[in-house]
């Protein structure tokens, strides 16, 4: 039975440790980032500088400002590059706000 108890104790220690980590994360999360140490300051920064995007990947317009880029910007950025792998294959230009539609008008129709 010795080995069983040893195993249980081992697992319990790991599980408790993990639970402590997760609970710490879960408590600080929730919808309000404002409750984080720098959350308020970050929100102030965003509103004052009128920021719209994260400066995560700066190699192209549509990866630097995914929410602002037009659909064609994916083909015309960063001098000398034709594809921004792997970011370019992960971040795509957003389709929001583009809803023009091409329509076919047959001969004789208006």
């Amino acid at each position: 039975m010795f080995k069983s108890w040893l195993f249980f104790i081992f697992c319990s220690i790991l599980a408790l440790f993990l639970a402590a980590l997760l609970v710490q994360g879960a408590v600080t999360s929730g919808p309000v980032v404002a409750s984080l140490p720098d959350g308020k300051a970050k929100q102030q920064l965003v509103s004052r500088l009128r920021l719209t995007d994260l400066s995560l990947c700066s190699e192209a317009r549509y990866t630097r400002h995914p929410s602002q880029a037009d659909l064609f910007s994916a083909f015309q950025d960063y001098p000398g590059s034709f594809e921004h792998f792997p970011t370019g294959s992960i971040i795509l230009p957003q389709l929001e706000g583009f809803n023009n539609q091409l329509r076919i008008v047959r001969q004789g129709e208006n």
């Binding site: 069983s4 980590l21 997760l22 994360g25 600080t28 004052r48 500088l49 009128r50 190699e59 970011t87």
Partner: protein, 385 residues
């Protein structure tokens, strides 16, 4: 209960007999879980960070689309928008990019608003004069200027201008300000040679957030060549972006997991002659099929539970203590100015449970099912050698 414990004890001794093999198995398994867990923790953290910080982003950004491309917007469009009921204020925003051919970095130049207050996450101050600027950490670490030094930049006319650094964004804001250079609006207009009748885009604040969508539609109606982007759309972009990203990496990692499952299956289905013999002996000694399966269940549980716990703790340490060094190349891509920032430990417990189910479940099935067949056969086979 006593029976289960004794069988667990037997299982543990059996596992320890083949300790190199089993420790190797746990290591591989834990590694797989750590990879999946890291992706999960990282994307969750980025998503919370983005959606949380950008909660205060402008209500509506209005761009002009010209020949299918984002173009400068006439400032007088603001008049049309201002007249719409529900609009609190309209202001113009000027920003652009600057490419540095030496270190091949893209910088973002942004004009600051008109107010003069300081920011919590800014050391020093925002520019107040024509030849001043504030910069993000990424620029400081790439080029090395301190407050008081100057940036020499080539403007649209090819003339070199110098700007004294008066402010430096603190590291905590890296994810938002890493590649930013802030100028006064007039300075930036002169630098990029943007006419005062034009702006990069317009920022619209509304009184009632519930009217945002309707207002966006109205703007599009009155100004057909514009593209209004609401804050919800910005948040949604990041929401889907990190799901996409997460999905992409999970897809890669799932490949690893499947490979691992095949390995586990192979190991388990090819119950070695030795293992088959052991099962036969146990049955001959009066173990029931259920007892033999209990051994296999314990075996699966011991291995997968240990791996899961080690893997998750490993993922946590990797992402939140070391900043996910193994995953940043994927996020980074070609970015020269990649923000070096600490992730805030934010966890979606639900996703952790899903991960646990997806890894522990299949493994136990992999060990249990093949043993089933051997366990139900008559034990007299062992008598025949």
């Amino acid at each position: 209960m006593r029976r289960l414990l004794k069988i667990l004890d037997f299982t543990l001794s059996s596992l320890l007999k083949r300790k190199y093999k089993n420790f190797a198995l746990i290591a591989v398994y834990a590694f797989t879980i750590a990879v999946l867990g890291s992706v999960l923790f990282l994307t969750q953290a980025l998503k919370y960070e983005a959606t949380g910080s950008l909660e205060t982003a402008p209500d509506i950004v209005v761009q002009r689309i010209f020949a299918g491309r984002h173009d400068l917007i006439p400032v007088n469009y603001a008049e049309t928008i201002r007249r719409l009921p529900g609009v609190k204020s309209v202001s113009s925003r000027v920003w652009g990019y600057y490419y540095d051919s030496l270190i091949k970095a893209n910088l973002t130049f942004l004009a600051s608003g008109s107010d003069r207050q300081t920011l919590d996450l800014l050391e020093g101050r925002l520019p107040l004069a024509d030849d001043e600027c504030s910069i993000g950490m990424g620029i400081q670490s790439a080029f090395g200027p301190a407050i008081g030094d100057s940036l020499a930049l080539e403007d649209s006319a090819g003339a070199t201008k110098t700007f004294q650094v008066v402010g430096l964004f603190r590291a905590e804001s890296n994810l938002l300000t890493n590649d930013l250079v802030i100028f006064q609006e007039q300075t930036l207009r002169a630098f990029f040679n943007i006419d005062s009748s034009l702006a990069t885009d317009l920022i619209v604040e509304v009184y009632n957030p519930r009217e945002t969508k309707t207002l966006a539609k109205k703007i599009k109606y009155h100004l057909a060549d514009t593209r209004p982007i609401t804050r919800d759309e910005i948040l949604h972009t990041y929401e889907t972006l990190f799901n996409w990203r997460s999905g992409m990496m999970l897809a890669v990692a799932t490949g690893a997991l499947i490979a691992f499952c095949i390995l586990a299956w192979d190991k388990a289905t090819g119950l070695s002659a030795e293992e088959k013999r052991e099962i036969g002996i146990l049955k001959a000694l009066g173990w029931e099929t259920a007892d033999v399966l209990t051994v296999k269940l314990w075996e699966g549980l011991v291995i997968s539970l240990t791996s899961l716990l080690i893997g998750l703790i490993g993922a946590w340490v990797h992402v939140f203590v070391f900043g996910a060094p193994a995953l940043t190349p994927l996020l980074k891509g070609w970015s020269v100015l990649y923000p070096d920032f600490a992730y805030t430990a934010l966890i979606d417990i639900y996703q952790v449970f899903v991960l646990a189910m997806l890894t522990v479940g299949p493994y136990i099935a992999c060990t249990l099912i093949p043993a089933w067949k051997t366990a139900v056969t008559d034990p007299d086979l062992v008598m025949r050698g």
